[in-house]
């Protein structure tokens, strides 16, 4: 009964659950990396470190330069975080796909390995 119940679950709701678990992991990943917020603010200055322009042309140019640097820093940090998120996304997708494929084969694989070792 134990084995029957185990295999019934394994090839039933257990296998279906792998897909759901992968979806949840991907959603959690997007949340944890704040992907939506980072995309919206990709070119925003880093932590609002900005210089307010003065009246003269010189001051305006200097402020423009400072703020450009801040935006570059912001872009760089966000870009690399988004890149890390994208890589993690691909890795998780790969793991999820592999799980889906390996899952139904696992019992057979286990039995095959036991037999191979004994022979």
């Amino acid at each position: 009964m134990f084995m029957l119940d185990l295999f019934t679950w394994w090839y039933g709701s257990g296998w279906a659950g792998v897909l759901g678990a992968t979806k949840r992991r991907l959603a959690g990943l997007a949340e944890a990396f704040s992907t939506k917020t980072l995309l919206h603010t990709l070119f925003a200055p880093w932590r609002r470190i900005i210089t307010y322009p003065g009246a003269s042309i010189d001051a305006k140019l200097r402020a423009f330069g400072d703020n450009l640097v801040s935006r570059c820093v912001g872009f760089t940090v966000r870009f690399f975080v988004l890149l890390a998120a994208a890589i993690s996304f691909i890795v998780l997708c790969g793991i999820g796909f592999a799980e889906l494929i390996v899952w139904p084969l696992l019992p057979l694989l286990a039995l095959a390995l036991i037999v191979k070792g004994l022979l």
């Binding site: 679950w9 944890a32 917020t37 603010t41 880093w46 975080v81 390995l113």
Partner: protein, 786 residues
């Protein structure tokens, strides 16, 4: 009709999951890891058995995964009772046994969720077992009710708590038992709601509030971190416990106001209503679900006025700090400032400073959203003193929540007290805290006052259990009030109230009986709790014991004659005298309101009531009707703990005439009151407001003799310090009565006569050294110098 089949796969899996348990899971996991790692290592060095070990490891991994994702929680499958019964429920029941309400209770009664009910309702699980039917056909209504309760909570699973609530609600015997304990089925429902809220809080999944990059587009806030408290961050770190408050009308109004472009809000509510909690609830709401750009990802920071003031050591530094904080918040772009006790920022004085000139431009320019929390009184003061700033604030009024919601909030606070102090707070104690704080804490609002009273009750816990008596003990200690229903010893005192009063009052049996009955009714809780404990109009000639009875009541009921507030109403004959009654202390330093506020548990004696101005009598109507008056500052003062006694000599001659005709008081009481109303001496609405109109009869000579004996006892108390006792012969007493008796003045001249007769005589003997310590002096009529 549904049968409880505990042989189905879900129930089987639940039992299997229970028997494997957490330890079984770890063993399987260890075997799996050992097999995979060990087998892999052996396979690498070409040992053939290594493959078998990997296979064994994989085989061990499969049941471990099964336990982790299925057996340890057994998710619901369908909409039947058995398909929805929770994992905890499934694993408790044994298969192959017919179930009835009684056996159902037997199976779940030791589960923590069932114990939550029995503990908080003070029901003993074994006693309850006898309350449930052993008939299996009676089970279906229980299952239906449990399903209905789970549906009501939006719960996919049917938990033990739902079954417990259903069992308690469907058993007529339990209802009877609850009634005996002064509880109702509604209380079972309330405990069920409480249990559900706790269950949801414990099983809540950790929330993600925006991820690592959420605040990267906002500025740094080093100074705000120094002088403020980031409420949003605290909620993120430690979780949130604001329950229904998160979606309350107050939070909704604040969100709406900011969404519609408000720059600053005045969060207005009386002390105790939960202004700070509303700010926390707003922070939680914004973190969890705000989609509006005006609120999304906003952090609420509470400014600490004390920290700001204590950091400013030089003139102008205070202004500099506050300005820099406002600038920093504005620059950061994701800050809502919260100023609790906002009056600290509006008035100069100890512990506060006037920052209106700094705040005004910030609010005008909408540089940073600000929430100012203040009481209605502070808001009015701000409007009066600085209309420019007050006019810029969008007012959000917090109103007291309905009783059911207040009780929920108090119960949730009780859970925190229980965890912190390792004790149990019964639901009856929570209800008592609600009732008594409403009655005795009129200066603050719900839920704060009920929570504070409950916290004070913790020190009165009996065997780590807080019961209604603990709450009563707390209010009795803090307010000096007899809040509980009469305890056995006190009940005896109350039953002998007449005897105790008669120890110091001669005759007036009818008056004493009427008053004692009214006080017993009040103490036993059968009179209207929204009015004073008792209200009496004492009518009768001078010197017959009206004031003495008032003093006796103060001494007997409140423990001391000092618990009497006495007003001579002949001093309140002008219209302007109303302010002397209602003064809040700003202009008049003495008033009835101030006296009652200082000493709420008192006899309020209004002498010669008929002489007061009609406007003052109108106030008296309100006092007797609603049990409260409002002072000139707008604060209410409760008279619900007072005994109000008004005295009058009106109709004294008529009483004397009736008595002289040989009539008893009971015979002419009613017609006498009619006479007073018809004669225009009292308005009928005033007479009707009193619980009792009490008539006093003139004293007879033999009663006056008893008065003399009582007064002599007082003289002997004074002489006790010199160890001298005085005794009067009957002839001496008759002589004093004869000298002091004046039908118009009653017993009043008797004290003077006694002073002249006894005290002067004894004083002479002491000075002439005819009396010395240890002497017992007996005075006859001839010894008295009258």
């Amino acid at each position: 009709m549904e049968t409880l089949d505990f042989t189905n796969p879900r129930a089987r899996h639940a039992r299997l999951g229970k028997s494997i348990g957490q330890s079984g899971y770890f063993i399987m996991l260890c075997v799996a890891i050992a097999g995979l790692v060990g087998g892999g290592a052996l396979a690498l060095v070409h040992v053939h058995y290594g493959y078998s070990l990997i296979g064994v490891g994989l085989l061990a991994l499969m049941p471990a995964i099964w336990w982790r994702y299925e057996l340890s929680n057994v998710p619901p499958t369908d909409n039947t009772f058995m398909g929805r019964l929770s994992y905890d429920g499934l694993r408790l029941f044994k298969p192959g046994q017919p179930y009835s309400p009684a056996t159902l209770w037997g199976a779940i009664s030791r589960d923590p969720q069932a114990l939550f009910f029995t503990n908080h309702l003070l029901l003993h699980p074994n006693d309850l077992e006898k309350c449930f039917s052993a008939d299996s056909t009676a089970l279906q209504p229980v299952l239906d009710t449990a399903t209905h309760i789970a549906d009501g909570y939006g719960s996919r699973t049917i938990e033990i708590s739902h079954i417990t609530a259903a069992l308690l609600q469907t058993s007529p015997v339990v209802t009877e038992l609850l009634t005996h304990m002064k509880l109702t089925p509604a209380d079972v429902q309330a405990v069920s709601d409480w249990c559900q809220r706790l269950f949801e809080a414990v099983h809540a999944k950790p929330q993600n509030f925006g991820g690592i990059g959420r605040d990267w587009a906002s500025g740094f806030t080093p100074r705000l971190n120094q002088f403020g408290h980031n409420i949003s961050e605290a909620i993120e770190r430690h979780g949130a416990h604001f329950g229904a408050l998160v979606d309350s009308p107050g939070v909704h109004d604040m969100k709406m106001a900011f969404s519609q472009g408000a720059g600053a809000l005045a969060l207005i509510g009386p002390d105790g209503i939960g202004k700070t909690s509303h700010a926390f609830a707003l922070a939680q709401n914004v973190l969890a679900e705000a989609q509006d750009p005006a609120l999304q990802h906003k952090q609420i920071i509470e400014l600490d006025a004390t920290a700001i003031i204590s950091a400013a050591r030089q003139p102008g530094q205070l202004e500099f700090i506050l300005t820099s904080l406002l600038n920093e918040a504005a620059h950061a772009g994701n800050i809502i400032l919260f100023m609790d006790d906002a009056q600290l920022f509006f008035h100069g004085g100890p512990g506060s400073f006037d920052a209106t000139q700094i705040l005004l431009p910030a609010v005008q320019g909408r540089a940073v959203p600000i929430v100012f929390a203040m009481t209605p009184h502070d808001y009015q003061t701000l409007r009066a003193n600085n209309m420019a700033l007050a006019g810029l604030l969008t007012p959000v009024m917090l109103r007291e929540r309905p009783e059911s919601e207040v009780l929920e909030i108090v119960a949730d606070s009780a859970s925190q007290f229980e965890g912190r102090h390792h004790l149990l707070i019964t639901y009856a104690a929570i209800k008592t805290a609600y009732t008594l704080s409403g009655r005795y804490e009129t200066d603050t609002a719900y839920p704060g006052k009920a929570i504070r009273l409950l916290e004070q009750s913790l020190t009165h816990a009996n065997n780590h259990v807080v019961v209604p008596e603990s709450v009563e003990a707390a209010i009795e200690q803090t307010r000096g009030v007899k809040a509980g229903t009469a305890a056995p010893v006190e009940a005896a005192d109350l039953l002998q109230l007449e005897d105790r009063i008669h120890q110091r009052m001669i005759n007036q049996k009818r008056a004493v009986e009427v008053v004692a009955n009214a006080l017993r009714r009040a103490r036993a809780g059968v009179s209207n709790p929204k009015r004073p404990i008792g209200s009496f109009l004492f009518l009768g000639p001078t010197g017959v014991g009206k004031t003495e009875l008032a003093k006796a009541i103060a001494a007997t009921y409140f423990g001391s004659e000092a618990n009497m507030i006495r007003l001579d109403m002949s001093e309140y004959q002008q219209e302007g005298d109303v302010s002397r009654i209602l003064s809040d202390g700003q202009h008049e330093t003495k008033s009835l309101i101030l006296s009652v506020r200082q000493q709420p548990f008192s006899v309020v004696l209004l002498d010669e009531i008929e002489k007061a101005h009609p406007n003052i009598l109108n106030l008296l109507l309100q006092m007797l009707d609603e049990g409260m008056l409002t002072d000139t500052g707008g604060r209410t003062v409760s008279f619900k703990d007072c005994i109000v006694i008004a005295t009058s000599n009106a109709g004294a001659d008529s009483i004397r005439a009736h008595i002289e005709r040989g009539e008893e008081l009971e015979q002419f009481e009613s017609s006498f009151v009619d006479e007073l109303i018809n004669g225009g001496q009292f308005r009928p609405e005033l007479i009707n407001r009193f619980d009792e109109v009490v008539l006093f009869r003139p004293l007879k000579p033999d009663e006056l003799a008893q008065v003399v004996r009582l007064m002599l006892a007082e003289v002997n108390k004074t002489l006790a310090s010199q160890n001298i006792a005085v005794e009067l012969t009957d002839a001496a007493i008759s002589r004093i009565v004869e000298a002091g008796n004046d039908p118009r003045l009653g017993a009043r001249p008797m004290r003077r006569a006694l002073q002249r007769a006894v005290e002067n005589t004894v004083a002479g003997k002491i000075l002439r050294q005819e009396a010395k310590p240890g002497d017992h002096i007996t005075l006859d009529a001839t010894d008295l110098s009258i």
